[in-house]
């Protein structure tokens, strides 16, 4: 039995954590994630979960303790944002390289400096090559659904990799939304009990985790990690199918919104995709064949599938809520462009960097992107490949 609730993104993620009931949570507060760990701490204090909550003294220790707890054989979670994620950076690679199925909500916030507490994706994008699975959500409902599915995906025997469940800071984390959460027993049954194959707390069969791995083996281990990453897509789809059975909600690698017959489209991820849908609807009313591709699974990147979905367009704009400072555009742009190149698609692709440090993005601005795309189609000419949307001159 699902329940209709009105909760903020942080509150509903704390509910997801309560329902997952991890053995260990080690976390450190940081805006805009703070409410999530506060609410969860209350669940611990009230005995609503079996979790040992480790009140670590930093995010570096949060990830370190989570790695220890996961390697010990327990189901372990943490949550963070921005600078906290950056402080974890070294241990992110150790978590994925050690093949630990940790699930971590990340409440996306701009990275310092200068310091800013509001939404952009520079935190998660900085960690996109750390070997973690990355999900993005349009709203709190999706973030909640992603968190619960991530447990199964991460722990799947063909995967065994950690997951970052991203939700936009403030826009999703602090806004109250009407959404549905599953019944506690449904989640309990869906995630099941965690049984690690090899773990530290097994005196019958002790193991050594994190040994020195030199030229003779390191590469093979990295190769195994690459194979596991290759397996993620299939597992994401299988788990989504099963999840649909209990929730009625459908998930894929990405969502195609009015893309079927579209001539121009934008690609985006996170809460902006909701705004983009409104823009698409407005344009459709004016008879413009506009569409949207909303990325849910960003790492591993479903390149082939995304390219196939975009290949019949005349022009596409990729929206990035992060700058790479490479002069070649944002991270999602680079990935999508490479994917289109691989299938030799004849689609003009442009990039719009927007919303840094929580700068609002409005429906009209996305409509202006579509206007630019129409221009590209009409003239057959891209005037400006990399654009900055909503920034003052």
């Amino acid at each position: 039995m699902s329940n209709q609730v009105a909760l903020t993104g942080n509150e509903v993620m704390a509910q997801a954590m309560r329902q997952i009931n991890p053995d260990v949570v080690a976390a450190y507060p940081i805006t805009p994630q703070t409410a999530m760990v506060q609410v969860f701490s209350q669940f611990v204090a009230d005995g609503n979960v079996d979790t040992e909550y480790v009140t670590v003294e930093s995010e570096h220790s949060a990830m370190s303790a989570t790695v220890g707890a996961s390697a010990a054989g327990s189901r372990a979670m943490t949550a963070t944002a921005a600078n906290g994620l950056a402080l974890m950076w070294e241990i992110l690679y150790i978590a994925s390289g050690t093949r630990l199925p940790i699930v971590m909500p990340v409440v996306n916030r701009a990275l310092s400096g200068p310091i800013n507490i509001h939404c952009d994706h520079s935190d998660a994008m900085g960690a996109r090559d750390a070997g973690w699975i990355q999900f993005f959500a349009e709203n709190a409902q999706e973030a909640y659904d992603n968190a619960i599915q991530a447990v199964r995906i991460s722990e799947h025997e063909d995967v065994r990799l950690p997951s970052m469940v991203n939700l936009d800071g403030f826009i999703i984390s602090h806004a109250v939304e009407n959404l549905e959460i599953l019944a506690d027993d449904e989640v309990e049954e869906f995630v099941g009990e965690y049984h690690a194959d090899n773990y530290l707390l097994n005196s019958e069969s002790p193991i050594a985790v994190g040994p020195l791995d030199l030229q003779d083996f390191y590469f093979e281990h990295k190769m195994q990690q690459s194979v596991a990453v290759e397996n993620v897509k299939d597992v994401v789809l299988k788990v989504a199918e099963e999840y649909k059975g209990i929730s009625g909600r459908e998930y894929g690698l990405f969502e195609e919104y009015k893309l079927d017959d579209a001539e121009i489209a934008v690609v985006a991820l996170g809460s902006t995709t909701g705004t983009a849908k409104a823009a698409v609807d407005n344009l459709r009313e004016q008879g413009v064949k506009a569409g949207l591709l909303k990325i849910r699974l960003y790492r591993p990147f479903p390149a082939q599938e995304i390219a196939d979905a975009l290949k019949d367009l005349k022009a596409v704009a990729i929206l990035d809520r992060a700058e790479t400072f490479s002069t070649t555009g944002g991270p999602v742009f680079a990935d999508v462009k490479a994917a289109l190149y691989d299938i030799k698609a004849d689609v003009e692709a442009t990039n719009y960097i927007y919303g840094l440090g929580g700068r609002d993005i409005k429906v009209g601005e996305i409509e202006s992107v579509f206007t630019d795309l129409q221009q590209v189609v009409e003239t057959g000419n891209v005037e400006q490949t990399i654009n900055y949307l909503g920034v003052r001159e």
């Binding site: 079996d50 040992e52 220790s61 949060a62 530290l200 985790v209 040994p211």
Partner: protein, 306 residues
């Protein structure tokens, strides 16, 4: 614990590791592990002990082992111990385990200090063992905050104008005592029974325990491999490395040299202090002696020996 009895116990850190001959880190770890009566999870910070004992696909540890990174063994074992408490509470396991985090002086006094402090403050039931060889040996003898004043290291070299390391050691054992944890001790491998007794107390105590042990490094100390343990005795006899413990806030001295020796007896056999015996550094040696005397007095005072 009787030495004879301890010698009969199974080795928990076995041969085949790649530590240098005469390395104190292995000796200290073996002695401490002999005091454990349960299966253990051993955590090791990056450093000589770690790189030498678990080279894939081998391990010299009979127990489960985890190496995470250089600066986080305190937090890592916190996580393992929390998992254990959680699973036990839920009735998912009932076996007893010991938890031990091991770091060199670099991984403990310096980069891992925050992680250690946090773990101790939170009260995890774990032992933290620091093997203090007075420098970052694994990366080629760079100074740490545990390096003795005047020592020649690769980042505090003795040069034409600067005679080695400029600062005195950080007194980490005191800092750990200030965490008000149930058990803190400073020990040395030349007194193996004392070391094992302390390790036993550390394992048995309910809550966190910290043991700081002097560990000779012939490479970094520029000393003879076969003289390492003897040097740790000289360290105690010169009062450079006093042996004491703090049990529930009570300070106790465990070794009082019959005749307190001059600090030069500690400095002279070690190549890292060679330059201190040049004429122009005479005053520096005197200053080091004064510092040791003062420190010794402080310890005597705290232990109620004055």
């Amino acid at each position: 614990m009787k030495l004879k009895e301890a010698a009969k116990k199974e080795e928990r850190l076995t041969g085949g590791h790649r530590l240098c001959s005469g390395c104190g880190a292995g000796t200290v770890a073996r002695l401490v592990m002999r005091a454990s009566d349960n299966p253990a999870v051993v955590g090791c910070a990056t450093g000589c002990l770690e790189v030498s004992t678990t080279i894939y696909p081998y391990t010299a540890w009979e127990d489960s082992f985890i190496h995470n990174a250089f600066e986080n063994v305190g937090a890592t074992i916190s996580g393992v111990e929390s998992a254990y408490r959680s699973l036990k509470k839920q009735g998912k396991m009932d076996e007893d385990f010991d938890f031990i985090a091991i770091g060199g002086d670099g991984g403990t006094y310096d980069i891992g200090f925050q992680s250690l402090s946090g773990a101790m403050e939170r009260g995890h039931d774990m032992v933290y063992l620091c093997y203090d060889n007075g420098a970052y040996m694994n990366t080629g003898i760079q100074r740490s905050s545990a390096t003795p004043k005047g020592a020649n290291t690769t980042t505090s070299p003795a040069g034409e104008v600067i005679p080695g390391k400029q600062q005195y050691r950080k007194e980490l054992t005191d800092i750990m005592a200030a965490h008000n944890i149930p058990y803190v001790a400073q020990a040395s491998p030349f007194k193996p029974q004392d070391l094992m007794k302390k390790a036993k107390k550390a394992f048995e105590v309910d809550g966190p325990a910290f043991i700081n042990v002097l560990a000779p490094c012939p490479r970094g100390w520029r000393s003879k491999a076969e003289e390492g343990i003897e040097l740790t005795k000289i360290a105690a006899d010169t009062c450079f490395w006093p042996l004491y413990e703090i049990e529930d806030g009570e300070w106790k001295l465990n070794y009082k040299p019959k005749n307190k020796k001059s600090i030069t007896e500690w400095l002279e056999p070690q190549g890292r202090f060679k330059h201190l015996f040049q004429e122009e550094n005479e005053a520096l040696v005197e200053e080091i002696q004064e510092h040791v005397d003062q420190r010794w007095n402080t310890i005597l005072n705290r232990c109620g020996e004055l």
